[in-house]
Symmetry: C2
Amino acid sequence: MMQPLKRTILIKNAVIYTLNAKDEVVRGNILVQGNRIAYVGEELPQIQAEREIDAEGNLVFPGFSNGHTHLPMMLLRGAGEDLPLMDWLTQKIFPLEDKLSDELAYLGSMLGIIEMVKTGTTSLADMYFFCDGIAAAIQESGIRANLSRCVSGQTMEEAKGRINDALRIYDTYHGAAEGRLEVGFSVHGEYTTGTEVIRKVCALARERDAVLQIHISETENEHEECKKRHGGKTPLGILESLGGLEGRVIAAHGVYIDDEDMERIAGRDVTVVTCPKSNLKLGSGIARVQEMLSRGVSVALGTDGAASNNTLDLMDEMRYMALLQKGMTRDPGVMDIRQCLRIAMQNGARGMGIEAGEIAPGMLADLILVNTKSSRFYPRQNAEAHVLYSACSQDISMTMIDGRIAYENGKIQFCDEARVLADFARAAEKLYR
Amino acid sequence: MMQPLKRTILIKNAVIYTLNAKDEVVRGNILVQGNRIAYVGEELPQIQAEREIDAEGNLVFPGFSNGHTHLPMMLLRGAGEDLPLMDWLTQKIFPLEDKLSDELAYLGSMLGIIEMVKTGTTSLADMYFFCDGIAAAIQESGIRANLSRCVSGQTMEEAKGRINDALRIYDTYHGAAEGRLEVGFSVHGEYTTGTEVIRKVCALARERDAVLQIHISETENEHEECKKRHGGKTPLGILESLGGLEGRVIAAHGVYIDDEDMERIAGRDVTVVTCPKSNLKLGSGIARVQEMLSRGVSVALGTDGAASNNTLDLMDEMRYMALLQKGMTRDPGVMDIRQCLRIAMQNGARGMGIEAGEIAPGMLADLILVNTKSSRFYPRQNAEAHVLYSACSQDISMTMIDGRIAYENGKIQFCDEARVLADFARAAEKLYR
């Protein structure tokens, strides 16, 4: 592989929330060389950088990492609001999904990535179909992603085509885009997928040391029906028995995972991705995030697809998570600010095996600048509280991914946003006709 | 009183969500004359307006009405995050409140009103102290408000000064600012106020036909302790027995009001103001809004103070309310879009006796324009879903209060925002020293 050009960008005069092991906050400078952070500290590096950014009045954080989404569902945003889950799926979502194509998936993904990058997201995990379209958008945009072709089906016969497609996607795209695009495998869920199929997909992931994504215990019904079918075994229990917990796992939702499940996955390479807004909107419930954390489970944050959220804004999602946990536990003392930042910015990247989520030399240069000039950052006494509780994504002034500026001062850098919007609108018009 | 100048403003080519009894959506025009709406319809009025606004691509709604807030608490935003409720109050909030003054209350209120107007709020109900400072900000800004001097105290002796201050505020400000500023009375809560004091404040409100504001059953502890003290009577039960439910009442929070309470207030002039974000953040819980609605209780929306929210953004608050109710009832079918809009835009105003909350001839001209150009309004198929689920207050392009434009295209019209921010920062610096 060609050595990437050693671009150099110097970010000066920022307040840097490193989220490193010591949780240091540095008033100083960051040097980015190529796609990695070369220096963080109070001293100003004596180097002629290609670009200098005076970040006075800005805070620097690692970019947000979205642990669970379905990018093309941007096309389905607003379709079938206020319907019960099964009506929503069968009357609205499935019929529309039947009409999707790679071109539509590409446009949905482009718009999804635009919204993510504007709201500070630098990496994502996606599971869906029409992955060629999604991969094209990931490559074009420059976002970092772990992509997987979603597999479901009760029998191998039913799942065969999907599994082959998943393998083709892996072979075609894994490691593409200078390594920004990794490909994993995914099982839709225990309730839609037979045990032989689950076992097969888990094996494929394990053989390739790839990330396995799966929907786990999103609804009470899913969790309880699984136990009924499998002599008391939960979806995570089934996954374990099929060899699914031996590698790196992204377990999406986890609203109903129980105490035994938590013990099962604590300390392992399993990241539970909580999607608080989607879980509320679809009437699923509220995940026991605080309980998982206290038992040593790694928790990251996701938006789910835009049809059930309806935004892909992790700054907003982080706030929902913090407030919901305080409300549900009836304890305003839980979910302190730094913990919330780690869940939203660090744990997703780590769960995907990405060397980001921390502002430190050697780490990938995935970071954001948050401008504190708006009234949302007044009074001036507690900036990090304002990031969690009163800022909005409008305050994000720059998003850098892999050492490249993807968004700056309101403008997406990797495409003509107006053209994407127009193409998206035309395509959606056809889809809904 | 002098007749207000008959300003005329013509808003053309908008999609108008009237929220009238027939729930009509009109593609057309609005004529504002003076402080009221003179015409709404498809025909373009043949009149030379002082100002014409081409609202193509915009939606018009009644402005948001914030049924419960404490404006000066903007100064306390971010103070003492992640503390248990009593520590938060006794270690942080009370000591800071001891240092407040009318000047500080004025600056806090100005900044609070700026954030409210930018996020589409056109009327508010406030209960706090240093009401001269708050009243000055209300008058200067042009927002519509129902203000009350909060009364607490176990004995008449203890409460006497506060009651006198409340009367002074009423006599000084009621009906001021061309009628935009009304003054009511407020009891802090049953748990902080003796029965004789409550009875007295209720009588003062009733004699003047004024709104009575009170914190009701915000926490489980408050609700249960009241029942213990009063032979099973709930805070609303006590209020009723003291003559407090005979006039117009704004009952803030209502997280723990029970079925009997709901029966007690359904069909009366009592508006329960739900404050979902504050109730989560302080670990209080989640109000049974859907249950109240189904029993005929009038529910409006509030932000509470910025110290426990930490925004004063009702578009955001409305989304929390909708998502929380779907999540808690496990039914995505509850809280349809129009119902949420009515709660956030109509019920608060009605609860305060304000002739707004509806875009119709004769109503006060309190309205907002929402621009649909951002990607948040794509796909184009369901704009009202996007207002509830994916828009953000950045999409609000204009806020009109009492027929005057208070905010337009990012700019506050009633003051120099930068100057207010600088003054606020200086004052807060002193407060926190």
